[in-house]
Subunit: 402 residues, 3 copies
């Protein structure tokens, strides 16, 4: 947001070595331009966090910037603000991280071996070893082979290595996988074609469309493995990454300019759903950035396929209005019990309470509308409120009754 | 909905011979899982019907299932629940059925020859003899020839047979035709190309895209015939049928997994509208499942073309929120008098009052919003309410003043 | 709207020489069918104008038509209703016209040389000399050469002539350019290809797709010139013009049947934004008719690119509901300060107050919703109200502090 108003990324510390950054000055820049965030969820998350996590009730502004910076700085030095203390204060049931397929989960091991009871789970995110469009694909697949002591240039051993890593993650508590899918297609290839494309992928010799097809085939393989091992499968679909070439070149990926694009869910998921979608033990949770597909495609599909659940509004749409549009457009065809509830998807630990509070407020506003319109009575609204705020996510991610 | 939660279709009596079904058990399964329908129009229709048609005020649940089943069963045996009695109790002006082009309308004849005054009309639905993508196309066209005593393998006689059947339906009271259009294109072909494609269609020798083009051409022929005979033309566009191949194979078509898809109305209707759209005597009523086209395409088109009216929200969108989105997005460009009002499109006779009640509630909510925002005064709102609830449909389907 | 209900365009004076028109009768036709406009912004603009500009409080109807016609006619003869008097009464800061690149701005000169202080600015609209799909392209480019005394069949001199005309407009007060873009692509061509396509364009020898590519290239040239001369660049994208061939043939362009179409903003603007989008001195204001791109594409893009601002809802969407959908879908990702505020885009001078009043009402309704949902407090809402109603447009069009 600040970049869109002409602030250089370096001014915000991006692309600047930590030791050369002036955090107080960066915070002042944010505070002095806080009005630019008016009406955005960022504003609401930040203000909730200041008040409810840090006890700062002054409004963020150029004048207050230094004082608030000090208040935050003081708090962070206090033992009450150590991660485990906050985890308990935030009253979290579970926190799941997202980890590459090659990750050794060392940090998870430390937590597990400690005497602390907080539940921190890994999530299996194999994009780098699954999507041949990634620049590091061949290299990552070879590393996968080294870790598993298999020859992953051989397609069968590659599949076996994926199974092994899934099992490893599961043994460390993982209940789900997660997949970034820029262009959705999940048509099953013939065994012969899959092997050929994989060989050529390892030589970095695929066209963009071949790479997309092979990735689609591999996503169906992941779904098959989910049937075997019970891991919930998450698909985050339809984001055009790094559309600003200047920023990409200067600062690398994940620095903004990731923009949603249209998705055809009916044709895109056809291969996967016709392969495993009738299995009601399997859970495939889908996330979209194309709201025009809510009522037209996703809700009717979730209202039909046993394996399919709709994830909550994602990224740009994880906001008060975004959630209102979501309920407005999905509930009538999908009902409430084909929804996966809410996962905050945040990278900012401090923002977890704010994210869930916003979701719960939006749920409450939605249910108030339903009761007012006589679509449901208060007793049913209470059942749905509990489901959406808590139980749905527990159920979707196989975390019940643990 | 039950299938999406893991109930087998057989458990619901689908694919089971009637004599082997246990309706009480099926009803119990529905009742015991009634919460899955919370927030859906199915729930609202069912509950309205229980209360207002059957006088059952208990909430549907596992505990109440048997008692409610008995209450319904008792009611259905009572003369007050015979179709004609209900027709009168429901205070219906007109009920129109949908009938294939080859149908002899024998049931309609019985009603017409009876001393009962209820108005039951057929509707001409020639998909099977018009859309070469249908597996029964060639066979149906031959049957059409037999019925009309014409050689329908000859294109001119085929067209003549269609005219004869339309006339037959009209003589039995029909005022409209209805067309399922999976992929919309209505470009007029040259006479030569149309004849060639038709010949090959009769040999089942068309590609999918050729079949779509020929169907588009035939839809324009239907529009021309509507100009001649005054039948209102209805187009239901943009549904991908039977996307679950397992269910299709095991249970046949129309068992769910029909999912909406995007439609380009501007290019799709261009051929038809540029051929007959300036004729203000003709009425073409369009139904969409792609709400993104409401404000972008359909409303501006309806606000221009004399022949075009917008049908009410269809299928997945025939719901409280769906109707709100419809009014929100179409009225400002199309006004109220290019709308076709409401037809309930139901296959469940008992649900007719529920359907119209939901529409009228949604109309009332919309008009309340308009009056609150000072867009119209109460006097005008009353005029629009009467139009939308009753007169618009009468006008759209040429049923006025009969 | 009247045409859509079967009134011939001739009945409304379209295609009829002025001296043969009967304005009183045409006005009566409008008044007698005024109910057809219920719920449309046209109705709200007209009624506001009658009451607030003309002091006519009677409702428009067949009965009142003559009296209201007389009242308007009398008013228009009064000096208080001369354009400059109304300009002052309407309390306008600035009025910008849209003028072809070849226009001599003679009328602007008259105003500038007069002793009247009202600020009337031209806007540079070079579609005819920039878009090779236009039938008058080659002819217009030659005229451009004559005006600038350059050989515009030479690509470099053509570019130079465009620079000269921009400078001429700027010297007459222009702060912006405006571009109609039917199909959006802005990929930069190689210099060689651009020159080749331009040569062939001057021979009217381009395919539709080549013409679109060359136009896209030229739009990027315009953006480069905007970097040089500071003119704000406006893009109005995605309208299929004159879709009714009968009306086009009989009455010419701009007689209705212009229908919006889908736009891919991410790929469509990629070339331009990657060329100049990181320049925070430049302002590119975009207008869309495809609302499905608000939250999915445009808001995230405006929330990133320094050069990009979102224009207000355009044409069919410049309405109470259209504005509500706009705020609902853009603010959360773009904030308020990447929006360009409101320009009424009207061709009807009398309607200017009505247009701005409707915008301000819609802003007020939006802010009321924000305050109610506790997204902002009243103090912030007042800041945003002032910004959206006045300052944003002033800022977007470089009209501040003049």
């Amino acid at each position: 947001m600040l970049y869109s108003h002409g602030f250089a990324l370096e001014q915000l510390g991006v692309g600047v070595p930590p030791e050369q950054r002036n955090p107080r000055e960066i915070f002042w820049t944010l505070a002095a331009n806080w009005h630019l965030f008016l009406g955005t969820p960022s504003q609401q998350w930040m203000e909730y966090t200041l008040v409810n996590v840090f006890g700062v009730t002054r409004k963020l502004s150029a004048e207050n910037a230094n004082g608030i910076y000090d208040a935050i700085d003081d708090a962070l030095k206090h033992p009450d603000f150590r991660p485990r203390a906050l985890f308990e204060r935030f009253n979290l049931d579970v926190l799941a991280t997202t980890d590459g397929a090659l990750d050794d989960l060392a940090h998870h091991n430390i937590v597990r071996k400690s005497d602390w009871a907080g539940k921190i789970l890994p999530t299996f995110r194999p994009d780098a070893v699954l999507n041949p469009s990634r620049p590091d694909f061949a290299q990552s697949v070879k590393q996968l082979g080294e870790i598993c002591d298999l020859d992953t240039e051989n397609f069968d051993q590659y599949l076996e290595a994926l199974r092994i890593r899934r099992q490893f993650f599961k043994s460390r508590g993982a209940t789900a996988t997660d997949h970034d899918v820029p262009d959705l297609t999940t048509d099953l290839l013939s065994d012969l074609e899959a092997r050929k494309l994989f060989s050529r992928a390892m030589q970095d010799d695929l066209t963009k469309s071949e790479a997309t097809r092979l990735y689609g085939h591999m996503l169906v393989q992941m779904a098959h493995m989910s049937v075997e091992d019970g891991l919930v499968m998450q698909l985050h679909v339809g984001c055009e990454r790094s559309t600003n070439q200047t920023v990409l070149t200067a600062f690398g990926p994940d620095k903004g300019a990731d923009i949603p694009k249209r998705v055809n869910w009916v044709s895109g998921l056809s291969g996967m759903l016709n392969s495993v979608g009738n299995n009601s033990e399997l859970k495939i949770i889908v996330f979209t950035l194309d709201e025009s597909s809510y009522a037209r495609e996703l809700a009717p599909m979730a209202g039909h396929w046993p394996a399919l659940r709709l994830g909550p509004p994602w990224w740009f749409h994880d906001s008060l209005n975004g959630i209102e549009r979501y309920f407005d457009q999905v509930v009538e065809s999908a009902g409430y019990f084909n929804l996966a509830g809410f996962n905050d998807d945040t990278r900012a630990f401090m923002s977890i309470p704010a994210r869930h509070d916003l979701w719960r407020r939006a749920v409450a506003l939605h249910l108030e509308k339903q009761v007012s319109a006589d679509v449901m009575d208060v007793a049913d609204a209470n059942v749905v409120a509990r489901w959406l705020a808590h139980d749905a996510a527990q159920d979707a991610y196989n975390l019940r009754g643990d």
